[in-house]
Structure formats: structure tokens, C-alpha cells
Symmetry: D2
Subunit: 295 residues, 4 copies
Amino acid sequence: MPKTERWHWYVEEFFPTEQHHRAIDAVYYAGETAYQSIGIIETPVFGKMLILDGDTQSAQNDEKIYHEALVHPALAGTADRSEVLILGGGEGATLREVLRHPGVKRCTMVDIDGDVVELSKKYLPEWSAGAFTDPRARVVIGDALAFLANDTGRYGAIVSDLTEPLEDSPSNPLFSDEVFRNIKTRLREDGVYVLQASTAGFHNMSLHAKMARTLRGYYRHVASFYTHVPAFDNDWAFIACSDRLDLARIEEAAVDAYCAQLRGENFFYDAETHRRIFALPLYLRRELAKSGDTF
Amino acid sequence: MPKTERWHWYVEEFFPTEQHHRAIDAVYYAGETAYQSIGIIETPVFGKMLILDGDTQSAQNDEKIYHEALVHPALAGTADRSEVLILGGGEGATLREVLRHPGVKRCTMVDIDGDVVELSKKYLPEWSAGAFTDPRARVVIGDALAFLANDTGRYGAIVSDLTEPLEDSPSNPLFSDEVFRNIKTRLREDGVYVLQASTAGFHNMSLHAKMARTLRGYYRHVASFYTHVPAFDNDWAFIACSDRLDLARIEEAAVDAYCAQLRGENFFYDAETHRRIFALPLYLRRELAKSGDTF
Amino acid sequence: MPKTERWHWYVEEFFPTEQHHRAIDAVYYAGETAYQSIGIIETPVFGKMLILDGDTQSAQNDEKIYHEALVHPALAGTADRSEVLILGGGEGATLREVLRHPGVKRCTMVDIDGDVVELSKKYLPEWSAGAFTDPRARVVIGDALAFLANDTGRYGAIVSDLTEPLEDSPSNPLFSDEVFRNIKTRLREDGVYVLQASTAGFHNMSLHAKMARTLRGYYRHVASFYTHVPAFDNDWAFIACSDRLDLARIEEAAVDAYCAQLRGENFFYDAETHRRIFALPLYLRRELAKSGDTF
Amino acid sequence: MPKTERWHWYVEEFFPTEQHHRAIDAVYYAGETAYQSIGIIETPVFGKMLILDGDTQSAQNDEKIYHEALVHPALAGTADRSEVLILGGGEGATLREVLRHPGVKRCTMVDIDGDVVELSKKYLPEWSAGAFTDPRARVVIGDALAFLANDTGRYGAIVSDLTEPLEDSPSNPLFSDEVFRNIKTRLREDGVYVLQASTAGFHNMSLHAKMARTLRGYYRHVASFYTHVPAFDNDWAFIACSDRLDLARIEEAAVDAYCAQLRGENFFYDAETHRRIFALPLYLRRELAKSGDTF
């Protein structure tokens, strides 16, 4: 093997018949937490990557695509940004994006896996970019299920950044009627609940559609949106829920005004991007229109 | 290896450090034409796939995303659809989409590689779906460069479906001032020239930007648009050029009216999809706004 | 992917954590028989390869290492070569090696999978090299188990070329006391029973040792031998059983005399090679000396 | 990807069309020395592995096969073991094997890459097993070429454990007439010079044959021997050179007597193993008999 060839690779399995192989420049950490396996690596194209249970969670060079999409439509659409709740989001980048808006008085983040939070602080400081030490941040290491059952706060935005509800995932019990009801109770009536909501490719959109069908039982407006995230090699979907407004039809001027208030510059999101990600191709709208099972 | 495991794989290299591995169910053809290597395989997730020089050209289960995006915005935006010219497009799916509009009187397709055309007819009939025997189809096996230099026709739409101008590709000489000028000469003044135009990911958008910069020297309106194509594992970009109108700002009602005239149903494209694919994220607009080299 | 890169690969799994990837030049056949999946491919280093259930069975460029090792020590050591029985051996190369000795009057080969035999005749004629049409060859397509139960012949050599007795393999029921007793009944008292007998690497020699332990209950002399077969990426083991002589201690001159009678030239085997393959390294002799379970 | 699947792999390229993939349990070190890239990893089947420039150098679970084969035939065959010289051997396992014989008064080891030595001490202590602190060990970090040019010692055995003379390797200049002459000058007349000497598979034995042809110009007896090393996935060859005796014909009793003097137990080597590794198959003897180019 010539000196310039690569011997060190990360293999991600999407289906048993589909794998992505990425050369590794360095391994910063590889181990097991109480909840999942974790890898923190450096790659040539995507920079640092966080891997949980073998799946890419986010990558340095394009995590802003994911995190801006997750946070800003919801914050743009809520009537009151003073109190925000994040479920999951251990890397701290969701927290970072929320705290970029000066109207946020407090952001509570609940993640079950304290090791992911600490390892992200140590190895992935670009993700949180100081957010963990912002006085407005309240980080709770604990079970989101228990937190929601006992909490008494009311939030203008609830942002769910949990891993997918696959069988072995610690997120699996968090897709249930009890949790959805508790979330609605904690959300202000004029608030927005947004969640990362699986994939939206023509070949892997059924879990997303199931989530959307489920949430239509809880909210008047349930808007799917998605963007391709290169590090995920997938069209990644989200759902924004609100009783007050349909985020797919928000005024572009309102998005621009919201973005102008943010500290620092966006990489991905603005009014035109909003237009893009909430406009869905025919095949996805057809899938979303089908009836089927729910959580 | 248990009986259910896979021993047969297709490996596509995106960068020397990024590979995609797909299990193969069957190989229908593998060989060399006079111009390129060709593989026609069956895969579990994407169905049949056409591979040229190791790169995925299109896949049965999502080729409509690519081909509808390539053809329909241009046909929706031209003033006259009676004569259409396709450069490349050997599989026949671009021809199929063009001929779905009853206003097309003749569609001329020029592809240098007759073997790709014949093998596609034999092994990939779903791609052309009868288009090659449509009396409106005129298929020319030959060099697009020479065709453009000698042709005297005028076309309401010219659709360039050539492989990327990489060093070893037969398409390489087709990205030149001479070709761009010949294309403009063959295009009606109220026509649209559309081309597949490389990738638009944050990490591989520079070739696309170079193409767009180049074409701004030839047309008043040069609109980039893109969509993720799962089988390509890439955000695939196109450029629509016109002196008459900006396709990014076409009326949604006009798109709907156009689509209503098509024979058969679309899978991907309609007015909402048009809105999506022509709305670009911030980072891509910033890249397109940069100055830089041209072809 | 540059034109010279490879897109087409064969992946063989040795352990779930050990895989070998080989580029494929051509696929001659890929399908399922009634008993197993079968692939016949062309590779740059090993030439044509036969793959059953994902595992390499033999390769054009080094199959002689395997087949000469399987056949010639046994034929050199038997007292009477007139009647030989092969169990398995569908490709025909074991038959070819047996028939190279002019003293063989008849060689009966019993293989359950007629498709493997026919596909080998068609695509792998170098393996059998005419042996299937030799008038001394008797090919029985059928279950070796049933054949042994009903046959009345006596053989100077019985050569077992069955796939490994893994759970899903059609060979699994053939490693049983009933079969071992039937084989012994069919073997002349001065004959040799030889079988391919799994791997002999320091990390995968336990199945071989179990086979050897089992056979010591049936024969006075049970000699393990092995050779590395590059296409298998393994040290491949065999066991030669005899009540008459210990094949590990046969006279070198007797091997030379036997080889001199063979039609054509050997690639691998002669007296010095015999010395090599029957001399075992310390770790393997220690493993073989251990007590443990048997079939 | 289920939690039990592997995401972390080591890929070794043998030919551009042959790769071995091994899952990684841990990375202890990955970096660059002044001379080569180095990786120290943990794997499920082979334990710890040392990787230089992408190639496996040795693995915890079978390095004794390689190191016992490299050292003990030479020490068994020399007339005087008091002074031994090792060229290369940075991991310390060759030193360990030499020092197991109580007749060794001093063992000098010359390796150019002090980082490999230090990293091996730290991460691979099982390789040297205390040898670096044995008072008989003299470790010289420096260029073997310069050492041989200036040294005035005489050695009963010289053991060359250099990486292969590939184009980019630091070992490349060490396969030259000047070096071979210097080695002969430093070797006692009754001594043995042994070197690791590339691979001996039917498909990759030409470099070995070239080495053997070259050395026949310097010594009366030049004996090739080889063993399969599973972690190398190759038949690994060595050459033992002597003017006094042919190591392929040494008395088995002499080997047994030598082994009985060693401290601790062998894993691989004894008189029977010696018989195995010095007996060569037909195809290799034919290759060695050919004329051809030399270093």
C-alpha cells in the first residue's frame, strides 16, 4: 500500500446493502457510554464527526445545515422566545443556535447521556461554541421522559433533537402518546414544537410519514420540511407543529426580520432557504397524504 | 459467510476518501464501449442502475427525480416546444420526458456512444419507455460538437444531459466557448437552454459555480437549481439559461398549466417542487456570487 | 472515479470482523441452485473463481494447490487405485486429478448439486479438463448420504471434497457417525480415506481438530496435513485416514515413483511438498493433542 | 446500524485489486514518524497490530510465527552465538527471540526509526517482553547502511528484519551490493546471515526469487524458507545464507538440541516445523531455479 493510501476507515451502514466508507484522519475518542457507543473522528471532507452507535450524528463542516434547519424555523414562528426547551442535543450545537437569538431568556436542555455532553465539550467545542457557559443555558442530565412528566415550565419553543426511535436507541420510549401529551402541556398555546423526524428520501420516508400522521392528532398545523445533509448522506426531515400558524406559509419578511436579530451569520438558513425546505416534492406529499399507522 | 450475506458489491468513489458500497443483485452487462466502461446492474434499494466509468448515471427507482428536473422547468419556460434538442441522454429517459408533452413536434437526440443507446434499449427499457420508437424522436449517434457545428435547426429548448467534463470523459471537449456559442445560435431567442451542471453540495459546488459564471456571459438569465438524487448520493445541480425569462421567478400557475398538459403522471415535479429546487440555500448563493475562473 | 479504478468487487467474510475484497473483472454466472447460491467470476489475481454461498471454493490460478493436495497423497498411499470414490467435488478438478493416474479403472463422483456440475462444465472447463467425458468417470448426481447407505462397491481411495459442515451447508448432515461408518465399510482394508478438513490457522483450527479427534475413533492412522491456499486466504487442512500406513511417514521414494506415473505435470505436489505439508508446526500439534468434543 | 455492527475498520491493500478489511477495536496510536506512517491498533482476531505505511508489520496473536522463523533457524545453524546483529526489528520481538538463547553474549540491534522503538516499548511491550532492558542488548538508533560501513564487530548471526525494499520504504537503499558486501565482511566465516525476504505465494514470489538469486553470488548455501503468517495474509519468505552449511539439510537432532537450550517455550518452531518451512512446493522451486535479474 503506497504511503499516500488510506488504511483507516469509518463504515456507516444505511441498509444492509448500502454502506458509506469514509477515510479517517484521526480518532479523538472511541468508547461506550452507559447508553450507546461513541466515536469522535476527523475526516478529510467533513472535518470532525460525532458517531453514536455507528451512525453519524453531526459533522463539523455541515452541522450548521442540520442545526439551523432544526432551530430557526421554530424560533422564527413562535410568538414568545423567552423560554426554550431542547430534548437531547448533547453536542451543544442546538443550544448554540437557540442562544444566538437575544430574545431567549433561558434555554433548558435535557439529555440523558452526560458522557456525550462532556466528550462534546472536550473534543467538539466548535459545536457548542461557548453555549454551555452562557448564563441563559440550563443543562439537565437526565431522562427527557421523567423531565417532561415532572416539569412545570411553559416554553415558547420545544426542540426535539433526539436520535431516531430505533429499537436499540435510548430515544425509543420518547415516541409515545404520553410524551407527545406532556410536550403539548409544556408548550405555550402560541408556541412551536419542532422535532428532527427521520429521513425523507423516496426510499426511506415511511418513518417520517408515520411521525407526521401521529402529530396531526395533536396540533392544528403540522408542517414537514427537509434538507439534504451531505454528512448524513440522506434527506433529513423535520416536523414543525403549531396551533397558531402553518410554518410552510410564514411570510418571507418575517423570516428575514427574525434572522436579522440573530447574533453572527447564518450559513444555511434565510427566507429563501425556508421557502426551499418547506416546499416538498410530489412523491413526499403523496406519501404524507396516505393513511397508515401511528405511534 | 452466512447464505443471506452479500458477496457482490458496487463501489463508487466520490473522493479518494469517500466511497459508497452497494450490494449487487445481478449484473446484466459489464464491458467497454469505444468511449467508456459500462455496467448495468440490479441493486436492492435502487433497482437497475447504469454505471459509466464507475459513476452512477441513473437508477430505476429515482431516475425520474433527475430527468423530470432536467426537462420540465426548461419546457415549462420556453415559448415554443415544437423543436427540442437533447445532447447526450443515451439512456432515453430525457427523450421520454420531452416527448410526454404533446406540443413537441420533433425531438432530436445526439449521443456519441451508440453502444450506450443500444444497451439501454435492451436492458433498461423502463428508461425510454417507448420513446425511441416515437415517430417524433430523431436519434443521431455522433459527436455533439460536430452536430452543433453543422446543424441548421432552431430549437425552443436545448437540453444538455452530458456526463461531467472530467478529464477522461468523452464530454470534456463539450464545455468550451465554441460549443456554448453554437448552442446559443441553435436556440430560439425565446428558448431555454438547460444543462445538468455538476453537484451543489457545500463541499463540491465549485465546478457548478464555474459553469454558472461561464454561462452568464451568454444569457441574460442564468438560474441554478438543484435537487438531491439519492442514487447519486449528491445534490445534483442544473442551470437554466434564457434571454426571455428567469426560471427562478416563473409563475406557479404557469408551471401547473404546463404539467397538466403532460401525458402521464409526474413523480417529482410540479409547481411546489419547482419552488423548492430553484430556491437556493445561503451558502450556495454566496458561492455563486463569487468571481472566479470560467470555461 | 477515474476510468482505471474498479467499481465491481467480491467481498468474502471470514469472521464478522475480517473481510477480503477482490475486484471483479467479469461475472459469468450468479444465481441460486436448489442447494446454495453460486457465483462464477473473473478476478485479476486469481483468474476465474467459483463462489458457493459467498465462500471461495476454488480459483483458476491456484486450484491445483488444493486439488493436488487433496488427491495425490491419498492415491500415493493406497494399495489399490483401481476404484476411487469422490464425495462432492462438483467442479470436476478432483476427478481430473484422480484420473491422471493410469491405474485408476473407475472413478465414481457423487455430488448433490447437478447445477454446480453443469455450470462448472460450461464456465470452468479448465477445472475438469475433459475428466467428465473420460470413460472411467461415473458421475452420480445425488445425496452422498443415500449413496453411501446403498452402494455395494469397495474403493481403494475415498476422497471427500465436501463443503464445510456449517449450519446452512448441504454438507452438514455428512459429518456423522453413520456416514463415517458407511465410508469405512466402502473403503478397502488397505485403502485411504482423505477429506478436506477445514482450516488450520492458529485462530481457526478447532473445527479441524474436532474432525481429527473424531476420525481417530475409526482408523489406526489419522494424519493431518495442510497448505496455505492464497485464493482461500487460509491454511487449508486435510486428513488422511488409513489402517495400513501413516501417510506422514511414507517413503519419499514412493511418492516420487507415484508422481512419475501421473499423466502431465504437477504444479504443487511431489515428495518435497509432501514432506512440507505433513510436517505440522508446534501450535497445531498441540491443538491436535488436546482432548475435546467429536462429531 | 445496529449497536453490534462495526463502524471502524483497517483496510490493507495487497494489490490494487485485493484488499483486506479488519474491524478495529481501539486505536492506541496513529501518526507519522520521520520515516513512515505508523498505526497501533487493537483487532478482534489478531490482538494488537503494528502498521507501517499501511502495511501490517506484526500482530500480537501470531507474531511468534514470524519472529521464531526469522531467528531460530539461523541461531540453530551458526557455529557461534556470542555476538548477534539485528538490522531493523524496531518492535523488539526479534531481539526478544535472540536473547532467549543463553549463549548470546551481546545482541546489537540497529533501527533507523527511534519513534517505532519508543512507541513499541510503550504500546507493544508484549513484543519485546523485557528484551530492551536485557544487559546483553545494545540498541543503536541509526542508519543500518552507515552502521555497516563503520562497524568493526564480527557476528555469528546477522538477522535482517527490514521492511521490504519498496520504492518509498526507508529500507530501499539497504538492498545493494555495498550492503551485501559489508554484511558478509561483518559475518563470521562460520556464521549465518538470515533475512526476511518478501512473499512466496505463487502470485507474488518474484521479488523473493530476485533476492535469492542475488545472494547466491555471495554465499555457498542460500536456503529459502517460508511460512504462512495469518496476520500478513501471505506466505512469508526468508533466506538463510551460510558458507558452512545448508540450513535446509540441518540434522533434526541439532534443531531439537538448540531448542532445548532456549529460555521459555516456543509457539511455532521446532525440528518438525523446520522440516516444514524449508521444504518448498514445486512451483516455488521452479521459480527459484529460473535465471533473472538481481539487486
